[in-house]
Each structure stands twice: as structure tokens, then as C-alpha cells.
């Protein structure tokens, strides 16, 4: 089909606007663009559970305390 996007175009779109693809995949409203708001939306819609979030937050905290990943996180 002429209107089907090829792989390169998809990769290009993902690179330039990753939120567009993720929003479609997870049904995230357009006005939700803050990372915390996105996670809250995923929690509220049941796409992730509280246990999922707790586990991920715990991993993130461990990584923050690990000097190997010191450059990965933004400093507040």
C-alpha cells in the first residue's frame, strides 16, 4: 500500500517525536506530557500496577545510588 510507512520512516518519527508513538501505544492524552503525569495516567488506567511502579522506583533508586550510573540521571 502506498500509505504504509516503511521502517526508516517509523524510526525517523520515533527519533524526532518519541511521544507520538508512545502516546498512541498507551492511549495517552495529548495534554499529558509530564513524565509523572504519564506514569499517573498509566497507573489510573490500569496499564501498570502499583507493584510495577514500586519495583521500578526501587530500581531507579538503586541505580541513582550506584556510582556506575552517576551520569545517567539529571541532577535536581
Amino acid at each position: 500500500m502506498n500509505n504504509s510507512m516503511n521502517l526508516f520512516q517509523m524510526l525517523g518519527q520515533l527519533k524526532s517525536n518519541p511521544m507520538a508513538l508512545l502516546s498512541r501505544r498507551f492511549n495517552i492524552p495529548a495534554n499529558v506530557n509530564n513524565p509523572n503525569e504519564i506514569i499517573q495516567h498509566l497507573l489510573n488506567t490500569g496499564q501498570i500496577t502499583q507493584a510495577n511502579y514500586n519495583q521500578a522506583a526501587n530500581y531507579a533508586k538503586q541505580m541513582q545510588n550506584n556510582p556506575q550510573f552517576s551520569g545517567l540521571f539529571k541532577k535536581k
Binding site: 497507573l43 507493584a51 511502579y53
Partner: protein, 139 residues
Amino acid sequence: MAFNNNFPIGYQPMYYPQYQQQMTAPPVQSVQPQQVQNGGYVTVQNEQEAKDYLVANGTSVTFIDTNNRKLYIKTKGFSSLDQPIFKRYSLVEDDDNGDQTIADTLADLPDKEEIEKIKADIKTLKAKVSKLTGKVKDE
């Protein structure tokens, strides 16, 4: 024939299954009250970390503050519009008898009547000192 109930031979009475279904009472649906789910226990460094933690709708998460001997419970309602309820508790260590040590401390404190009497005495003393020295000011 009489055995056919006076209906003509070959007559088939109409069968209305949907009418028969309507004759039965609809099943009573029991409404299950929504219950807050336990979202688990999370350790935090301070109260702000607990306040910033995300909680799903209809879930309650308990936070243990490792620095301040406090416990926080954050509960989110079932609607996305509900503001989370945040409660804080202080952890009090019990003595070997299982009684809270804070109870003994509270028992030694003066009651309101005693405090008012002490205040009146202080006021009187201040007035006397001020008369003698002229340095103490009344608050």
C-alpha cells in the same frame, strides 16, 4: 378430537420464548463496595519523597521514613480527580514491659490549672522585680 383440546389438527400454538424469559425476575446484582487496595511498603528518606510518590487510584501505600522514625500513609481515591489523603504517624518505642515510654513522661506534666497558677505567680514576681529595679518589662 377432544384430546387436541378442540384445536384443529396440525395447529401448533405459538411459542414465545422471549415472553417466557420476561416472566422470570431479573437476577439481583450484588453491588460490591470498592475497597482500597494495599499498595505495599516503601522506604523513604523524608516526608517530601513520600508526598511525591505516585499512587494508583483506589490504592494505599505505606512509607517508612528511615531518617525520622515516622510512618506515612498515602491513600488515593477511586477517581482521578480525588486528591490523595496523606497521614503521618510517629513511631514510639516501647519499653521492655511493652508499655509506651512516652506515657510516663506525659504523666509528669502539669495540668492546665497548675500552669495558670504558675503564670500568675510569674506575673506577680515580675511586677515586684520591676518595682525594685525598673528593668523587667511586662510581656
